[in-house]
Subunit: 144 residues, 2 copies
């Protein structure tokens, strides 16, 4: 873990860009089915892509046996983005506290800035996390 | 709009509960396909349900011609929730600034508290929003 964190510390402040295209209904604003007619990117789909960008940034550095989960997240959604647009996510690691990696960044569509965000992911043992989830599922389902 | 906001102000501080069941793959943690094996609720799916709870709370009070969009959102995801669990979202309106309605709350699964959140939705004219999205789409697609 120590080695991973030291390697990540060298990435602090370096901007990384990811992109995706709003080309699937799962990206669309649909808290209510009638909202689908707006044909616009939803806040939660944007957040999923933002979180994924952080996941991929960390994955490069993680050895097998480790994964990362979102701990805290915040976003301001400034402008709507129509279907078929490309979206660019620019993010950087701004801090690392123990095993928590803090990211900040902005998202743009082909026309303008659409969001600002800050989130953190915690690096943990994949086996530990799997065990915890399994134990919790078993408790409720009465298997133990 | 004035009437809507006055009516909403009477809801400030009143707790409202929503629930959903993690019973569909679209709820699952999947920033990477191999994460599906954890069979756990994703942060972005939880956020979508949190935002939807706010949408439905406002929808009750909105006359036709108005809708609401997420402006700012933040969440701390404290514990994992396995597939098949029920999740309960407890939220309340804590403030209203102009046409921005601010919500706060917590989410629980059948076992424990899993998240804390704060988000705001802006109430706007549905036609205005549709026009803005359409104009933006036309600009890039070269229809104007």
């Amino acid at each position: 873990m120590e080695e991973i964190l030291n390697s990540l510390k060298r990435k602090i402040g370096k901007e990384i860009t990811f992109s995706f295209k709003v080309n699937d209904d799962s990206f669309l604003w649909s808290e209510d089915t009638k909202l689908l007619e707006y044909h616009a990117l939803s806040t939660s789909a944007l957040l999923e892509e933002v979180h994924r960008s952080g996941y991929l940034t960390l994955k490069e550095e993680l050895s097998d046996g480790f994964t990362s989960v979102v701990f805290s997240t915040s976003l301001k959604h400034l402008k709507p983005t129509p279907y078929s647009f490309n979206v660019f996510i620019k993010l950087k690691i701004v801090n690392i506290k123990k095993n928590e990696v803090i990211f900040e960044g902005e998202a743009f569509d082909e026309n303008e800035k659409i969001a600002e965000f800050k989130f953190s992911r915690i690096i943990i043992s994949a086996n530990y996390l799997k065990r915890k989830i399994h134990e919790k599922a078993s408790k409720i389902n009465g298997y133990q």
